[in-house]
Amino acid sequence: MYKRIIRTANAYYNVGLSRAQVRDLTGAVDALSRCLELNKRHVEARNLLGLVYNEMGETVLALREWVLSRSYRAQSNPAERYIRDVQANQNHFELQMQGVEKYNQAVHQAQTGGADLAMVTLKRVVQTNPNLLRAHLLLALLYMQEKSYSKAGKLLTHVLMIDRGNATARRYQQAIRELQHKAPETVDPVEKNLRQTARAEVVIPAYGVAASSYLLNALYVLIGVAIGILALYFLVIPGKEKEYAASAQQQINEINSEILSRDAQIAELQRTIEALEQDKADIQGTVDDMNTASNEAADARNKMVAAYDKALNLALIYAAGDIATVAEQYPNYTPELVDSDSYRQFYNYIYVQNFEYLYASCFNEGQRRANEGFELEFGVRLLEAARVLKPDSSEAIFWEGVAYHRIGDLGKARELYQKVIDEYPNSAEAPQAVAQIAQIP
């Protein structure tokens, strides 16, 4: 979901960028604002929006975007340079701010019935702030109200040269065309002719010619003056237009170089994103493997802990001298139980080096009890433990029989005596077992 939001924000940024490239500044503001609504941290969008605002004469709005952009990315952010550049020429900056202040005054004046005063103010503003589009539009509107459509038209043309997508300017232009169609404006014919000439059409006014030399001379003079004026405007107007176009071209070039830089940054970011996506996939795979390994390791660790516990328990029992239990536990322990050299040494000590001692201890203590008739139950246990260590010990079997015999468990006693007679007939205990069995009723 987050990725989708980011992708959509990037798409809006690209739209804003393409609009700015064709000087649709109003459209660019719309798209870039949408981008920032989705992702306020889109530094490139903020920087570009600031540039667009600056181009539209909205310097404070531009500064806002650059300051916010800098707050999101302090390092390697062109916003820092933009802010510096705007404020570098203090005089120019103050002039711009004064222009904005005057524009605001003019708005108030126009909205409170002071249209004439507003026009006076705005005429100064459009000189000092040639990019403040709002001032041009308001002045154009005021000109339209007093039917000075040509003056309004010039202002609107200027606005559209800076911002091709300015809907207000286009609407006003359309309104002027409609108004001029209904009631042609009262325009100075010379000015009208000069305007037509500026469209590369040379129009020589057709005057009625009198058949007198005086009139002819006057006509020639008039024509000469007209041609002179035309020639002057042929040179001046193109020159002015060239100057204007050069200035606009310079601005376009600056924006284009910024845009190229943006394109390079975007391409770089795309490559970085792709690389990060790949890294993420790799890392995810590694995490999955680690999780699996972790689960297996956890199992192994738990088993190991349990085995160590057992080993420690055995050590405690041995240290307490409970030889019977140590012997009884013999089948429950193997050298491989715990993967530990210490454990293997311990096991070796108890069940290998001291095996005979262990057995002897169990048997001797068991036999003593069975022979002397005390602690017979414990004696049975000891002899059984001895049999765990040596299952084929005929002596242990016999004396366990004796212990059961003295306890009164005659069935068990007969069983064990018979076992000695049957399985170990050549043992020293076999004849004794026969004698013992004879005593059992």
Binding site: M1, Y2, I6, N39, K40, T59, R64, M97, N104
Partner: protein, 47 residues
């Protein structure tokens, strides 16, 4: 057809430099990702 009074009323003042600080501080900095996080938190608390 242009209605002059209506068009005049559409014009708003342009921000001046002494309003810049207020403009920056008053900007609503909530974006979609903030909303998404908020919604997910609420879902978690309810769930």
């Amino acid at each position: 057809m242009i209605k002059f009074e209506e068009e005049i009323a559409k014009f708003k003042p342009s921000p001046e430099i002494d309003e810049a600080e207020d403009l920056i501080m008053a900007d609503d900095m909530t974006d979609m990702t903030d909303f998404m996080v908020q919604i997910l938190k609420e879902m978690k608390e309810k769930g």
